[in-house]
Symmetry: C2
Subunit: 408 residues, 2 copies
């Protein structure tokens, strides 16, 4: 396995103005093509320190990937410093210079000469085109080392990274294949305990788990070492794990939960309405984050006040007075009301205490109304206001998923 | 100024499972106490590589701050490796061991001996107590160097960091003071151009700008070098900048825009209702993210379908048929309907094309109804679906802010 260091260049990272999502993105993808990330470094826009970082990187790794410092300004020095470090000349790439000219032309902007600095690369570079901005990246091989230079903005770097993956897949003899199993409704330690016996002694495939916002992700990765077929190894292991975890597994395609719920609704031609109190729109926002969600998402109500629960959803005043706004009864009438007021097939409601103050912080009722029946469940979520709101929305999505699957 | 490296320890960072927000948080705070962050590094849970990283860190910096590796498991080795590196013994801290015992007792959990490893520190350590978990941190001085060790989980690290700030403020003779000016409704390059003359030759205070999601932040930081008073220097500069940027400045207290709008509404005892189409709940979610938002937030409507705009908000069917759902007229009736249906003082509406497909992606109408008048503005936002939704919500908040300020 090739060892890699990701060196991110930019003073804004060291000032804490932005978080280094580039390093995370690169790290999450590289293992699939047999490159292991062993170090991340962040350095300011300072030639001496950048050169020092390259020296350290090449001493301890086979591959260095830089992010940032490819812009048109005098601060953007990555290519110059790398070329100098490797003893290579910078040469003009005609195709890149054409693309940059066209980029400016298309936008009616005037090209200044400094923009063409972005078309110069260390001699022998493989160019990585950038469809989202003016700074192309490049891959340079020198002796037995490889350096990849990419621009910092994630919206440019992410689409360019496919070409980098392809380069390393072709370069490496080893071949890796991964799948991601995603689980909802079961905590990480419980997941690990349940699959412990079948994964503890594994070396190929390897298994890694990770939890965030109520979702546990298991990555299963196999290589072709010893002549084995990584797809077969991974699929066998994925099947075994899915059998153990049952309907807590909501995808083996690494999809977001809201996307899986969207697909379930769309396939069955169902419309959904949301009725949220403590989650304040987080659920509606998740469902509508998906392109095309208007096929399934009809209406959302953020009924934060008691008055709005009564007016917008038709919750009975007596229900709130007798049982309070945070109760199984209110959740039931909210879900029913969401269906009735909109004519939707599915209504989902959330009411609870998101905190930060109060005795019952974390107590949340979630209701799902579908096919003439309404189910309400009580939850006690821990954590801060943001986490309680997110957990409420994720759990509501999961209840919708299970309800639809059980009735189909 | 002391030079600092942040070394984050944890294989999950190198696998891309989590993003290094600890390094960002530390970097954003340290300059205020006269410590400059020059490097971030990320290393896996590997003793040899951690030791190597410490060596590099102490060669190039005065201060090393480690995050992670303070847990109770065999993988958590930071203190052992640091003690060994510095040639110091690990000794038991009685107060910490008591606190850990109590933490387990309070939760009815059984303490295993390995948990007490967390009460051992390099001799001479200043202990940094952890109220959110079992792993205390520590500060160790050795010769003219300082090492600070903190746990990885942000919810533990963030509250502990105040004590670290206090330590460095007391240690340093130099003293820094910062203020943050936040701007909405004006792009970063325009902001920079407007303030160029007064900031270009500044060395004390220094000025840095940063833009995200439609908000530009200017940090103004001054030191007491040459006997000057940093508070006076910063406040003078902040006043000058605010004068130039006028009502585009929404705070000099580094507050979020939704919090400023919340305060404006609360001070005037106003209730607000939101009516969102393309933003799908992002605006409601921002407003309700604030603790106590139920004082001002009454109802939100996510009227994604035409039918729901008509039913929930009372938009005229003929308006949609004549002008389409994305039009100034529909935005106006949505804002009016939000007020009328809820009895709220302020109604705010968003309707537009968030994409990704279609010719008019980015075209958004935002309406604000208040005090008997309704204003609608047309915007063309660029970027992907997520950015268009966020920009719509941020701009709607800004329109509410300006409307209330202009009418008061």
């Amino acid at each position: 396995m090739l060892k890699c260091e990701v060196i991110s260049i930019g003073t804004e990272l060291l000032m804490g103005q932005i978080v280094n999502t580039d390093a995370q993105y690169i790290s999450s993808r590289l293992p699939e093509c047999g490159v292991g990330v062993f170090y991340h470094s962040v350095i300011g826009d300072n030639p001496g320190r950048i050169k020092e970082a390259l020296k350290i990187g090449f001493e301890r790794c086979d591959v260095v990937i830089t992010t940032g410092g490819l812009g048109p300004t005098q601060d953007d020095l990555t290519k110059e410093i790398v070329a100098d470090f490797l003893g290579l000349k910078l040469v003009l790439d005609d195709r890149s210079s054409e693309r940059i000219r066209k980029y400016f032309e298309d936008r009616g902007r005037v090209l200044v000469e400094s923009n063409l600095r972005q078309a110069y690369f260390p001699e022998g570079s493989i160019i990585v085109e950038n469809d989202m901005g003016t700074a192309p990246g490049c891959i340079v091989e020198k002796d037995d080392k490889v350096i990849v230079m990419l621009p910092g903005p994630p919206k440019e770097l992410i689409p360019m990274f496919d070409k980098v993956m392809k380069y390393f897949k072709e370069k490496q003899l080893g071949r890796l294949f991964s799948k991601y199993i995603r689980i909802v409704g079961m905590g990480e330690s419980m997941v690990e305990q349940k699959i412990y016996d079948i994964v503890s002694s594994q070396t190929n495939p390897t298994i890694a788990t990770y939890a965030k916002d109520g979702i546990v992700t298991i990555r299963v990765t196999a290589s072709n070492e010893g002549g084995s077929n990584p797809e077969v190894l991974v699929n066998d292991m994925v099947n075994k794990i899915c059998e153990i975890l049952g309907d807590n597994v909501y995808t083996t395609e690494n999809d977001e939960l809201e996307y899986v719920v969207f697909k379930l609704l769309k396939e069955r031609n169902l419309k959904i309405a949301t009725a949220e109190s403590c989650s304040g729109g987080v659920l509606a926002q998740l469902l509508t984050s998906i392109p095309g969600s208007s096929h399934v998402f009809h209406s959302g109500f953020v009924t934060y006040s008691e008055e709005s629960k009564i007016r917008a959803l038709g919750v009975e005043r007596s229900t709130i007075e007798t049982y309070s706004a945070v109760s199984s009864q209110t959740a039931r009438e909210m879900a029913d009301g969401a269906c009735r007021k909109t004519g939707c097939d599915v209504g989902v409601s959330i009411t609870g205490y998101a905190g930060p103050d109060g005795e019952s912080v974390g107590l949340v009722y979630i209701g799902v109304s579908y096919g003439g029946a309404t189910e309400v469940s009580e939850f006690r979520f821990s954590g801060n206001r943001e986490r309680i709101r997110t957990m409420s929305a994720v759990t509501a999505l999961d209840m919708v998923r299970r309800t639809i699957l059980n009735k189909s």
